[in-house]
Symmetry: C2
Subunit: 437 residues, 2 copies
């Protein structure tokens, strides 16, 4: 075996401790792990007791000290948050050190800047742990699917919302109640906005999109709808119609039109009805799954635990092993393995969200008068929206509840139709609108 | 970009043509593909018209000529069969050329010899296409899960049998009828033995086991039960009890006992009942899926098309890209990337098949007399086999049909019990015995 590779850990929370536990207990794992050594660790509190037996003289409160340590060859950033993570990642890169990070937010927002710096410095920035927890998805996209033209990436990539939706579906419990329980159990943060508003899923689909299609898109322009306004009855009606409800993130290649130099993509995050026999439908609890459709491979799916210390640590160590493997044959002076470094190779851009095409689920509260279904149907028909089913679920003194599932139409057509339907005298309100797969 | 890498194709059948079509149409795929060039192709019939536009002066009837061509740096073996594939692979290795193959049979049988030769010559032998068709599974096992202690690999890894079982379950059609149709549709070979007898699945689980546990086991000692004797009613009864029936291949680490220098493994292939809510239960048709259980990752699953020209070609090209990527930073003089070459790193051995522990499904034909269920139950109980359910499905003048599902017991206990049950006067015969997950 060659000389050991020195690792500097930024953060020793649950993920950092998970990484340390693997590296300090190599037995039964890939033998290359014995080649990786933790040489410096930045922690917030020097005095907190640590479960993995890390020698206290490796600890420091200064992350800069870890980055600057000449024995640190790879910096593992598992602190989370935008700053100081971004600055520390950039500092590591500029010091000629490869970086492994689990930080999807910083990569989704500053990925281009980080990738450009890494390329200039000839180092790797690997991010397997940033998407899908323990599921190998970043590396397979880079290392196993490169022969394909990818057409679509879709996935359940937020464990917290999937846990909430799974319990709503199974037990009929309202959203708020499940959220509170999830918070108590540690499956949801005290401030759950990033998860339930779909922002975390948007970060992750931005990253997957960049790898699948070869060019980055603007994260902040991705249309995002969270699950906060979802009602138990939507989950219940979906079930009656043969669907489950999942927070789905999608990145899809559009047929090229005007700008042949840039690939048009539709990327979005939305609660979506998924037919019960679809491979993504059976993904429950905190599990994640990512479905990739490519030519010629067809559909492949990657499934597993989307969060948690152990799974995330497994992904971080995967990245470390990839760098350690390459280190044995090249010290970096010959440049980078293009498959592993995976820089952008073409331009991509987001299409106008109104051009996104999909089926839709709509729930309306109307007066219980004859002819209302007919009038709604006509309004859709006039806008070219064909309807797959229209069902009245509930009629009480307060009115009727009508669920419409459309065939695939553009979001623009759908918005036009909704605006027209809102103006119908018999329609009291639009109670829910979701995608449908 | 660097100098192009020359590829020699052994075989231009469906998979070979699929590989050629990817390499000859690089647009929209990983840009590294443009670095890979087909320089020589061995075919059986020089005059057969070819769909991908391969220049006729690249063609030869002599595979040796391809292997020996100095412009060929990587040999792609997509002919299938044990010989002359094995000899050609060895010849390539000895000539210092890396090999990419889709040939599970030759790897399962001669993998150790081939790996030793590759190590000695400092070349890669990559086999992503040998297991799971287009599903990335070999590379993720090597490149993404190395931080884990793998405890179990289980999978549906034969598309033909899964197609047959899926149709039997969906339509209640008998085995023979579905097999004949599958043969007409090209989903089953004219001689289906390798598939329906479980031999192909055994080849593949032997390969996965070697990668997951770090050492090879004896392929011919793997206990294999095929689906040939399976009856529609077993599939039907399983469904009534909440299970699907799949041909499952399993490789599982046993608690280490005597020989601490070698890891004990239980490896087997058997038709198995899988609970409807299990991730593997929804895998239908020619799709495959492999579930990996590791510490600390937990359960991850890889799903996709288990066969077909396009998916298999995608996997072959994945291997080519991995070698091409590494070529850019190392010409091989520094040795191999240990992660990608993945040589054995410890000894493994198979435990005695009677030690395999699992739940079982048993169908008995008995006389329809009172007390028979009690007597069967007692015989199991006396041998320490606890029963999860015992159900009488059908009573006619010919007798009764009794289905027993046991809790997890050793195969030895199960065999003892079956022998004792056979001797009961009321028991006419054991009609079926399968695993149960």
């Amino acid at each position: 075996m060659e000389a050991k590779i020195g690792i500097g850990l930024l953060g020793l929370g649950t993920v950092g401790s998970g990484v340390a536990s693997i590296l300090l207990n190599p037995e039964g794992r890939n033998p290359l792990i014995s080649n990786i050594e933790i040489v410096r660790v930045a922690v917030r509190d020097l005095k907190r007791p640590r479960i993995p037996s890390i020698s206290s003289n490796l600890l420091t409160k200064s992350p800069e000290e870890v980055v600057d340590d000449p024995n640190v060859q790879i910096v593992v950033e598992v602190m989370g948050g935008i700053e100081p993570s971004r600055t520390l990642i950039m500092r590591s890169i500029k010091a000629g050190k490869s970086v492994v990070t689990a930080n999807k937010a910083v990569i989704a927002l500053h990925g281009e800047e980080i990738a450009a710096a890494a390329k200039a410095s000839g180092v790797y920035v690997l991010i397997e742990a940033a998407v899908g927890g323990g599921i190998p998805i970043i590396e397979p996209l880079k290392q196993s699917l490169g022969g394909n033209k990818i057409n679509r990436v879709s996935g359940i990539i937020n464990g917290t919302t999937n846990y909430i939706l799974s319990r709503m579906a199974k037990e009929g419990v309202p959203y708020k109640e499940v959220l509170e329980e999830a918070q108590k159990l540690g499956f949801a943060e005290a401030d759950p906005a990033a998860d339930v508003d779909g922002l975390d899923a948007a970060d992750k689909i931005a990253i997957l999109s960049g790898l699948a299609f070869g060019g980055s898109i603007s994260r902040i322009d991705i249309p995002v709808q969270g699950i906060g306004s979802l009602k138990s009855r939507d989950v219940e009606y979906a079930a009656k119609l043969g669907y489950g409800v999942k927070l789905l993130a999608v990145a899809q290649r559009f047929p090229s039109t005007k700008d042949a130099n840039s690939v048009p993509l539709a990327v979005w995050v939305q609660p979506t009805l998924i037919q019960n026999d679809h491979p993504l439908a059976g993904v429950n609890g905190v599990n994640n799954a990512i479905l990739i459709e490519g030519d010629p491979v067809g559909e492949v799916m990657f499934y597993g635990p989307g969060a948690g210390a152990g799974p995330t640590a497994s992904a971080v160590v995967a990245d470390l092993l990839n760098i350690a493997g390459i280190h044995q044959i090249s010290n970096g002076s010959n440049g980078l393995d293009p498959l592993l470094s995976a820089s952008s190779w073409r331009a991509c851009h987001l299409v106008d969200p109104t051009e996104i095409v999909q089926s839709n689920y709509l729930r309306l509260i109307t007066e219980d008068t004859p002819g209302v279904i007919g009038r709604i149907g006509s309004l859709f028909g006039n806008r070219g929206v064909s309807i797959q089913s229209i069902v009245q679920f509930d009629a009480t003194s307060q009115g009727a509840e009508i669920v419409v599932i459309t065939h695939a139409v553009t979001k623009g057509q759908m918005e036009d139709s909704i605006n027209a339907i809102k103006d119908l005298a018999e329609v009291k309100r639009i109670a829910a609108c979701m995608g449908c797969l």
